[in-house]
Amino acid sequence: MALNLIRKLMVSSLFCFGAATASAETFVFTAIPDEDETKLVERFRGVADYLSNELNVDVRYIPVKSYAAAVSAFRNNQVQLAWFGGLSGVQARRLVPGSEAIAQGVEDQAFETYFIANTNTGIEPADELSSLEEGLQGKTFTFGSKGSTSGRLMPEFYIRETFGEQPDEFFSRVGFSGNHTRTLRLVEAGTYEVGALNFQVWEKELADGNIDTDAVQVIWRTPAYPDYQWTIRGDVNERFGEGFKQRVTEALLNLDDQALLESFPRSGFIPASNDDYEPISKTAEEIGILD
C-alpha cells in the first residue's frame, strides 16, 4: 500500500514537470506594477488584444508583483517585451545585451515627480526644494516602489542633493508604499505626512476626481527627466520571424486608440533609444542602485 502510494506520487510528480514543456510560441509581455492592479490588467489586456491583431501572433500579458519580477521575467526570456520605467528599463537592458528601448510616451521625454504633503503638516508649495527644508525635516516620508524611477530614484536623488543627507537621516520615518496610487492614498490618509509620486498618476487621479484636495497637495515638482518606455529583447526576430521587432515598434507607434492611450495616460507613443536613458543610468549609479 505504502509503496504503491509512493509510486503513484512519483508518477504524478513526473507529470508535473512534463506538463510545462509544451507551450505554443506566444509573444508575452509584462509591465512594472506601478499602479492599482485592476487598472493595469484592464489597460494591458487592451494592449495585448491590439498587438495580437496588428502582429498576427498570440500576445499575452502577465501581471507581476514587483518591479524586479518584471526585470527578471524579461531577462529570463519569459517575456519578450515590457513597459518599463526609466530605472527598470536601464536595469533590464544592462542585463540583456541586444535589448532595445523602442518607444516611449510623448510625456516620457519630460517626466516629473511630484512631492505631495498632507495638508495637516502645513507645508506650503514652493519652487525650490531647499526652501522646504524646515518644513520637511523630521516628517514621515514614503517613496513608491523600491525600483521606481519617479517614485524612488529621482526623489531620493533630489533629497540627497538638496539636503546633503540620506532620506532616512533627513526624515523621521521612510517607507516604500509599493506603487504610486498607494503613495497618494497613504499621504491623503495621513499615514505618511509626505510622499513622492509619478506626476501622471497624480494628474489623472485629479482629473478623475479621486483626490481629496483638502487633505493632500503638491508641494514641489522635480525638473524633467526621461521615464517610461517599451523595451524589447534583441532575439525576438529569431523567434518570431524576420522584421518582428520592426513590426512591434510600428504597432506601438501607430497606436491611436484614444481610450487605450488614455488609460496609460499618454497622448501617444514616439520612437525611443537606449541613449535617451543615459541620465537615469548616471543618477542610479550616483546613489548606488546600479553598480
Partner: protein
C-alpha cells in the same frame, strides 16, 4: 517563586522583551486607524464572492500547490529521515528548513520564473527538512521490541516495513495531515510574490481597499481549512495527489540556461565577477555587514523577542476560551471559532492587513505574530487543560485560572513557546518584505536592485540566525526538561 527555573526563565525573557520595547519602533502612524479597521471589518461581514473571476481558480491553485509541495516534501523528508543519523544530512535539513518558503520562492523566481516548479519547490524544500527531522524523531521513538522478535536474517527493509512503520503509522499520518494544513497557508502566501495562489488576489484587493473582496477571500480560506477533516480523507488522498499537478496552471516555460547563469554568475559576489577579485571581498562584505546585515539582525532580534513574549501573553489569555473548565458550550464554540480564525490566518497576511490599517512600524508585526502564534499555543494548551480533572471543591473564576490551571499547563505552555521561538524568528525576518526593517527588508531590497549576490549572503545570515535560535531554544527546553510535540 523565583526559585523555580521555569518562572525565572519566564521573567528573564519578559525583561529582555521590555528592554527590547525601548528600542523597538512601536507606533500607529495612520491618522485614522480605527475608521480603516472598521471599514475592513465591514468588508469581512459584507463579503463579495463574485468580484473576481480568478478567485475559484486561485483557491484551486492554492490547494494544488499545497498538495504537490507537501507530497514531494514528505517523500523526500521520509527518505532523508532514514539517513538522519549522518551529521551532514542533519545539517542540510536544519539549513533548508531555516529558510522561509517565501525566500525559497524569491530564489526560484529568479531562474524558473513563473513556472509551477517555483511554487512547488518553495514548499517542498523547507518542508522536506522539517519532515526529515520530525519523521526521524517519530521513528526513533518506535518500540524496539517487535524488531527483536523477527527471525534471524530478516532483511533490513522488511524489518523496517513490518516493525517500525506499523508502530509509527498513526503518528506519521497525523503529522503529515497536520503539515498539509500548514502547506495550505504557505501556498496561500506565495501569491504575495506573484504565484497564482490566493495571496495574489488578496494583495491586490487589499492594496486597493476592496475590503469586501478581501473579506470573501479570507472567509473562503477559513472554510477551506476548517472543513479539511471533511474533504481530506485517506481514501481520496491518492486521487488528490495524482490530480493536483494538473491544476497548478501552466505558468511560463522554463529557460534552462537561466539556471546555469544564476548559479555561475548572479550569486557570485560582485567583486569576484569584476576585476577586484578576492581583494575586494573584504570591503564588499564589510559594507554589506554594516549597512544591511547589522541593522537587519538587530531589528529581527528585537521584534522576535517582543513578539515571543506577546505570543505567550496572548496564549495564556486565550486558552480559557476553549477550556472545558470555563463557560458553557456556546462560549466555548465561539472561542473555538475565534482561535481557528487566529491560527489559520497566516501571520504574513495578518501583518499585511494591520500594516495597511495602522501604518508602518513594528506594532502590526508584533500583533500579527502574537495573534497567530498565541492562537496556536492557546488552542493546544486549552485542549490540554480540558483533560485536567479538578477536585469537586476547586475554586471558580479567576482563582481557578491562576491557582489551578495555569500552574498545571505552564510547563507545556513554555515548551510550545520555546518550540515556536525559531518559527517566530523565521516569520519576523520574512515580514521585512512588507516594509518593516528586519532582515527580509534588506533581502527584498537586494532583489529589487537585482543584486542576487547580496540577497544570497543576507539569506544565509538569516538562516544562521534561525539555526542559532533553534539550538538555543532546544538547549533551554532541555535545561528545563520540557517536552513538546512539533507545531508549524
Amino acid at each position: 517563586m523565583f526559585q523555580s527555573p521555569t518562572v525565572r526563565t519566564s521573567f528573564i525573557f519578559l525583561a529582555i522583551a521590555l528592554v527590547g520595547l525601548l528600542f523597538a519602533d512601536i507606533a500607529i502612524t495612520a491618522s485614522n486607524p480605527w475608521r480603516d479597521l472598521g471599514n475592513f471589518f465591514f468588508g469581512v461581514v459584507t463579503p463579495n464572492f463574485f468580484s473576481n473571476e480568478g478567485l475559484m481558480t486561485a483557491l484551486l491553485r492554492t490547494v494544488s500547490f499545497a498538495f504537490v509541495g507537501v507530497a514531494l516534501g514528505s517523500i523526500s523528508g521520509f527518505l532523508l529521515a532514514l539517513v538522519y543519523r549522518w551529521l551532514p544530512v542533519r545539517i542540510l535539513c536544519a539549513f533548508v528548513r531555516a529558510i522561509h518558503e517565501l525566500f525559497w520562492a524569491l530564489i526560484f523566481l529568479q531562474f524558473f520564473g513563473f513556472h509551477p516548479l517555483t511554487g512547488v519547490l518553495a514548499i517542498a524544500i523547507p518542508y522536506a527538512g522539517i519532515f526529515a527531522k520530525v519523521y526521524s524523531e517519530i521513528l526513533e521513538e518506535a518500540d524496539p521490541e517487535p524488531g527483536r522478535l523477527l527471525p534471524p536474517r530478516t532483511g533490513v527493509i522488511s524489518a523496517f516495513l513490518y516493525t517500525k512503520i506499523p508502530d509509527c503509522w498513526v503518528q506519521l499520518r497525523t503529522y503529515t495531515a497536520y503539515r498539509l494544513e500548514c502547506g495550505l497557508r504557505s501556498s496561500a502566501i506565495l501569491g504575495f510574490v506573484g504565484l497564482p495562489t490566493l495571496g495574489f488576489y488578496l494583495e491586490s484587493a487589499f492594496s486597493q481597499g476592496h475590503y469586501s473582496d478581501a473579506g470573501a477571500m479570507l472567509i473562503l480560506f477559513y472554510v477551506l481549512i476548517a472543513t479539511m477533516p471533511l474533504w481530506v480523507k485517506p481514501k481520496l488522498l491518492p486521487a488528490y495527489i495524482l490530480g493536483a499537478p494538473f491544476f497548478l496552471g501552466e505558468g511560463l516555460p522554463i529557460v534552462w540556461s537561466n539556471v546555469g547563469r544564476f548559479f555561475t554568475q548572479d550569486i557570485v559576489p560582485s567583486p569576484l565577477r569584476g576585476e577586484e577579485g578576492w581583494a575586494g571581498m573584504g570591503a564588499w562584505l564589510g559594507d554589506m555587514f554594516i549597512n544591511q546585515a547589522m541593522p537587519g539582525i538587530w531589528n529581527t532580534v528585537i521584534l522576535t523577542q517582543v513578539a515571543l513574549v506577546a505570543t505567550g501573553i496572548i496564549a495564556l489569555l486565550a486558552f480559557p476560551l476553549i477550556s472545558t473548565h470555563f463557560g458553557g458550550p456556546v462560549r466555548r464554540t465561539s472561542g473555538h471559532v475565534f482561535l481557528v480564525i487566529m491560527r489559520s490566518t497566516p501571520e504574513y497576511i495578518l501583518a499585511y492587513i494591520l500594516l495597511q490599517l495602522w501604518g508602518p512600524s513594528m506594532l502590526p508585526a508584533v500583533v500579527a505574530l502574537a495573534l497567530h502564534n498565541g492562537g496556536i499555543i492557546g488552542h493546544l494548551i486549552g485542549r490540554q487543560s480540558s483533560t485536567i480533572r479538578l477536585r469537586p471543591d476547586a475554586p471558580n473564576g479567576l482563582n481557578r485560572y491562576t491557582y489551578e490551571l495555569v500552574p498545571r499547563v505552564y510547563r507545556s505552555f513554555l515548551a510550545f513557546l520555546f518550540y515556536r521561538w525559531e518559527i517566530i524568528m523565521r516569520e519576523t525576518a520574512i515580514l521585512g518584505i512588507l516594509g518593516i526593517y528586519t532582515l527580509g527588508f534588506y533581502v527584498d531590497s537586494a532583489i529589487q536592485n537585482i543584486q542576487f549576490d547580496r540577497a544570497m549572503v543576507l539569506i544565509l545570515i538569516t538562516a544562521s540566525l534561525n539555526i542559532g535560535v533553534d539550538v538555543l531554544g532546544r538547549f533551554i527546553r532541555r535545561k528545563l526538561a520540557l517536552q513538546t510535540m512539533p507545531t508549524c
